[in-house]
């Protein structure tokens, strides 16, 4: 059942890639939409099958593959991956929906997007470390091409930077995985067989550091983030949506699944530093965003800041904090996708992304009133205004971590204040102000451009008013994860024993 989420897009990619030249771009787009539509519906079907009371892995699939290597094809879904798989299916559909009808080389473009979607779904569903790694690497080259071919001005530089960073990330993760297998003397890469490993704490910390830095590049966390602004800015709107909405979440997922999940003791030991790291990321992203003059770049830096909250929730090691962190992954995916889409529409209609040039788009006659209104909403959701989905995720993170790390939490609260600062700058310059009537001959915003924004806005609003629909999935698994973490005394004992 789960395999369909992976293989339908991948087969779709192959079929679309091999279509003859005569097939029109429109048809190819429709085909890609249909495939991702089926995947989205299938995901919704899986959601109904999901047992909320079961904290373990569900809907498992297993085929032995290369047993000598310890590689088997085992899939499964739990509360953590379900949320992200849903986000992936939704955002892929939306990204294809809002991609330009007249894309160059449509076959390659849609094939690559589908390939990415299948690969990411595979990574979220894998219950085998090596299988995860294969899927994790699968999306590397397609994204490189998506940025390098359909990107903006500095696409070559950005794509190469992305490729190199991600390759380093992959190497670190593989090294950590292999190290774990050898040191723990495990017979296979199966996730559940590695759960109860009892390595000395020093080695655990070493392996965890590899995983943290490897996935930290992907998330990205400061100081491994400089690929992000360049890549996000260079990427076209649908690719940026996927990069920010889905791919960054792959990093966050990896940190929770393989960092916290496999090395709970080492995690507990490093947690105070992780909280500091989170606060630094939040403040760094927010302050850097204030100084930006390009709205897409500003949103990109804002994304760096927002990923810090996820790490803070994880570091807190409380159920509320981690549920908040997982909710923040989904919330941030939705909000970032909305913001990138709107910024893309503004750029397409007005022809610039420069804060100093944009003005008065809220003008109801000549401007882009609906797009501006949604931009206000998206920005405010990102700034954590209650009633929108960003607030509840951030609030849960803060609530969960305040008792453990008060100072770091307060610094992150200040970060949300700075978020408000740069978004107000953005809104004041783009939406407010006087529109110059002489140049304000913008093309009409089509329904095709409005629909994705409206869908995302509706989700942001609904999940903000009814957050239970977002948090309920991840609660059982989170409780189990927190229970696996040894308490303070237990860590001390382990440390002493290992000495």
């Amino acid at each position: 059942m789960l395999s369909l989420l992976i293989w339908l897009p991948i087969f779709g990619a192959v079929v679309i890639g091999l279509l003859p030249n005569q097939v029109s771009a429109l048809r190819i787009r429709q085909g890609a939409l249909a495939i991702t539509g089926i995947v989205l519906l299938w995901t919704l079907g899986l959601v109904t099958q999901f047992d909320l009371n079961n904290p373990g892995v569900q809907l498992q699939e297993y085929f032995p593959w290369i047993e000598v290597l310890g590689l088997d094809y085992s899939l499964g879904v739990d509360g953590l991956s379900l949320v992200l798989v849903g986000l992936n299916s939704l955002l892929t559909w939306i990204a294809i929906y809002c991609s330009d009808v007249n894309t160059n080389r449509p076959r390659l473009f849609y094939a690559l997007v589908l390939l990415v979607s299948g690969g990411v779904a595979g990574a979220f569903l894998s219950q085998n470390l090596l299988l995860f790694f294969l899927f994790y690497e699968v999306e590397l080259v397609p994204f490189y091409l998506l940025v390098a071919i359909w990107g903006g001005v500095k696409r070559g530089y950005a794509a190469t930077k992305f490729l190199l960073y991600t390759a380093v990330s992959g190497a670190l993760i593989l090294a950590a995985f292999l190290g774990l297998i050898w040191l723990a003397d495990a017979s296979s890469f199966a996730y559940d067989s590695l759960l109860g490993q009892t390595l000395p704490i020093g080695l655990q910390v070493l392996l965890l550091s590899g995983i943290l830095i490897g996935f930290g590049i992907k998330i990205p966390l400061v100081p491994f983030h400089t690929w992000l602004p360049d890549t996000y800015v260079a990427a076209s709107t649908p690719v940026a949506m996927l990069l920010g909405g889905v791919l960054a979440k792959l990093g966050a997922y990896g940190i929770f699944r393989f960092g916290l999940g496999l090395f709970p003791e080492a995690w507990a030991k490093l947690a105070p530093w992780l909280a500091v790291w989170a606060a630094v990321s939040v403040l760094y992203g927010a302050t850097a965003a204030i100084a930006q003059k390009d709205i897409k770049r500003m949103v990109a830096y804002s994304s760096i800041g927002h990923m810090g909250y996820i790490l803070l929730g994880g570091a807190a090691l409380t159920t509320v904090g981690i549920v908040g962190a997982i909710s923040q992954m989904a919330a941030h995916g939705l909000i970032l996708a909305l913001l990138f889409h709107l910024v893309g529409v503004v750029e397409a209609k007005v022809g610039t992304r420069e804060l100093d040039v944009l003005n008065g788009l809220m003008n109801p006659v000549r401007g882009l009133p609906l797009i501006s209104a949604l931009l206000v909403l998206g920005a405010m959701a990102s700034a954590g205004i209650p009633g929108l989905v960003g607030f509840i995720a951030e609030f849960l993170v803060f609530q969960g971590s305040f008792a453990v790390y008060p100072l770091q939490t307060l610094l992150c609260v200040i970060g949300t204040g700075l978020t408000a600062v740069y978004f107000v700058i953005l809104l004041n310059r783009t939406c407010f102000g006087r529109l110059d009537n002489a140049i304000a001959y913008f093309p009409q915003v089509t329904w095709r451009e409005k629909a994705p924004a409206l869908i995302l806005t509706a989700l942001i609003l609904i999940l903000g008013v009814q957050p239970d629909w977002l948090t309920r999935w991840s609660e059982p698994i989170t409780t189990a994860m927190v229970a696996a973490v040894p308490t303070e005394q237990a860590v001390q004992q382990i440390v002493q024993v290992s000495k």
Binding site: K161, P223, Y284, T287, A288, A291, P364, P386
Partner: protein
């Protein structure tokens, strides 16, 4: 039947909320064919329904104990967020006041914004404020109060930014949003910090906890200071008061609500939090100090303003300062009464002035004058509002101030003196506004100024009648002016002293206007609002700006350069090494042997070094 309405009181915020959702359809670019006016009519209807419901429910709650409704909103592990609603005579009464004032302000808006194209947005936001404020008074939880305050912060930003074509409006909206948000975030910190200690966010639960709690004095003080920060921002108290001044660039019908009740949302929350604040004497002292500074500073600044809306807005800060003093000294009843009388009187003052601003196309006091014969209704309603605000029996402002003064007199005589001074200064300021608008000779701007249309006059007159009857209503609810006879004489004397002095100065044709007797640096200090803007610019704004530039520079030139350096180094290395590709087997063999030997030596270094020794 009335009981039924009382039980269903939670519906009251829902009516304006529905109105808000419906008027979104007329926000630009969705429904174009009908023009934006239906949005206004729908909201008037919904507000009227809400008011009717409240009026019907109020008698059934009077004298009854409060009823509580709890709705579970979110449950995550051990954290359960329950929305507790309190239906009592206080909350329903407050909702009646809110919906009533809203109805009048919205009707006023129909007249004031007759030619405006932004009806959809305007009425959406008015309804948002109405729903939010009704929700705030109804909910009995600090957490949900925070949520409402934060949403209203966003509402303020959009409502002040209504006429976003003008640069000054844009900066005003920005400052309002950021100032309030600073307060809100400190409030959030307080909310977060309070939960692990108290285990609840319900106001009654917090009050119970505070009675027996033993908290470290420093922690209690920090939490208390964080908690009052939100109200400081909302109530435009020093040092977060500048936004109210800039908010005066927004449309006037929203100013009616903002000056009368929106600022009071912060006061409402701080009143509810009074038992928690009482845990720390430091917090109480700070609350009082901020109240005193804002009360006296605000009334002094008000006198130096030439913009009539700004002059009124600083009186709002001053009166909210009095509420802070009342809360800081734990006189809760006086605080509530002061909020009520201030809301009615201030709304009336703004309404009275609004008609003049609309017709004379200016809000500059120096451009106005001589309107008494042309605008008797506006003049009378303004006088009624002024009389209702200051201590002038038999109107209700007198009861509120008398109650506060007599409570303060025995314990804090200095604070009682502050109240007297603020009363006298406010009387001075209001009489100054009255004299400059209605007295003197007509100017170019006022020579042709008829009374405004009925949509604006009617709500103003209704509110004036209500303000005149408020003492009777309070009496029927058993709230009478009580206090020492000497104190009431003192209070009345302070009102008369302020008003007559001002009348003497500003009505007299002998004294030339503008009056500039005061030493000019001092005058500028008040006129420029204690230079708060400069203070902000040179501290917080400068700091954040510098920090962001430094971070950006660091990111661009340090972190990214380091990354590029690594890339460059590897390219350089590759480029250099490529000259080794000579194609000669001997050379390759030599290289390989050299490196193998080196590695071998390094790997066996320990054995080798022993050998040597």
């Amino acid at each position: 039947m009335l009981q039924f309405f009382a039980e269903m009181s939670w519906l009251i915020p829902c009516y304006p909320f529905i109105g808000m959702l419906l008027s979104i359809l007329w926000s630009p670019a969705i429904i174009r064919r009908t023009g934006p006016r239906p949005a206004g009519y729908i909201n008037l209807l919904m507000t009227f329904v809400a008011l009717l419901h409240g009026v019907l429910a109020f008698p059934a709650t009077w004298g009854q104990s409060a009823r509580y409704i709890e709705i579970v909103w979110l449950r995550v592990s051990d954290l359960t967020l329950t929305l507790p609603l309190e239906i009592s005579s206080l909350t329903v009464g407050a909702m009646v006041l809110l919906t009533g004032l809203n109805l009048l302000a919205q009707l006023y808006g129909v007249g004031y914004l007759q030619t405006d194209w932004g009806w959809g947005r305007f009425y959406t936001l008015m309804a948002l404020f109405e729903a939010g404020m009704c929700g705030l008074v109804l909910c009995n939880s600090l957490f949900f109060s925070y949520i409402v305050l934060e949403i209203l912060t966003l509402g303020t930003y959009l409502l002040i930014g209504m006429w976003f074509n003008q640069p000054i409006v844009v900066t005003g909206a920005r400052d309002a949003f950021l100032t309030k948000r600073v307060g809100d975030l400190f409030l959030l910190m307080g909310v977060l910090a309070l939960y692990p200690l108290a285990g609840t966010w319900n106001f009654d639960g917090l009050a119970q906890w505070a009675q027996t709690a033993e908290v470290d004095p420093i922690v209690a003080a920090l939490i208390g200071l964080a908690l009052i920060s939100g109200p400081i921002g909302k109530c435009a108290q020093f040092p977060l008061h500048l936004w109210l001044d800039e908010a005066m660039e927004g449309p006037l019908p929203s100013t009616i609500l903002r000056n009368a009740v929106v600022v009071a949302t912060g006061a409402w929350v701080i009143i509810k939090l009074a038992p928690v604040l009482a845990l720390s004497p430091i917090t109480l002292s700070v609350t009082i100090a901020i109240g005193v500074i804002s009360a006296i500073g605000g009334s002094l600044i008000a006198i130096a303003q030439i913009d009539v809306k700004r002059a009124l807005s600083y009186s709002v800060s001053a009166y909210m300062g009095l509420v802070f003093i009342a809360v800081g000294t734990q006189h809760i009843q006086s605080a509530y009464l002061l909020l009520l009388t201030h809301a009615v009187a201030m709304a009336l003052l703004v309404m009275g002035v609004g008609g003049i601003i609309l017709n004379c196309i200016t809000q500059d006091l120096t451009q106005l004058g001589g309107l008494w014969s042309r605008r008797p209704i506006a003049g009378l309603t303004f006088l009624t509002g002024a009389a209702g605000l200051i201590a002038l029996p038999p109107l209700s402002g007198f009861s509120a101030l008398l109650k506060l003064v007599s409570q303060l007199w025995s314990t804090h005589p200095l604070l009682a003196a502050v109240v007297l001074v603020v009363n006298a200064l406010t009387a001075f300021s209001l009489m100054r506004i009255f004299a400059l608008i209605f007295g003197g000779r007509p100017t170019q701007m006022t020579i042709r100024a008829p009374e405004v249309n009925w949509e604006m006059t009617l709500p103003t007159v209704i509110l004036a009648v209500f303000a005149l009857h408020l003492p009777l209503i309070l009496r029927s609810l058993d709230i009478r002016p009580v206090g020492d006879a000497n104190l009431s004489l003192l209070l009345i004397w302070s009102s008369f002293f302020g008003a007559s002095l001002s009348a003497l100065v500003y009505f007299s044709p002998v004294i030339s206007k503008p009056v500039n007797w005061l030493w000019s640096p001092l005058r500028n200090l008040f006129a420029y609002d204690f230079y708060t803007r400069t203070l902000y610019q040179s501290s917080v704004v400068l700091g954040v700006d510098a920090l962001s530039r430094i971070t950006d520079w660091f990111d661009r030139y340090f972190v990214d350069s380091l990354v590029n350096l690594v890339g460059l180094a590897s390219i350089f290395g590759g480029e250099t090494l490529k000259y080794n590709n000579t194609g000669r087997t001997q050379f390759y063999m030599l290289t390989i042997s050299f490196w193998v030997a080196l590695i071998a030596i390094l790997m066996n270094w320990s054995t080798l070094s022993q050998l040597v020794i």
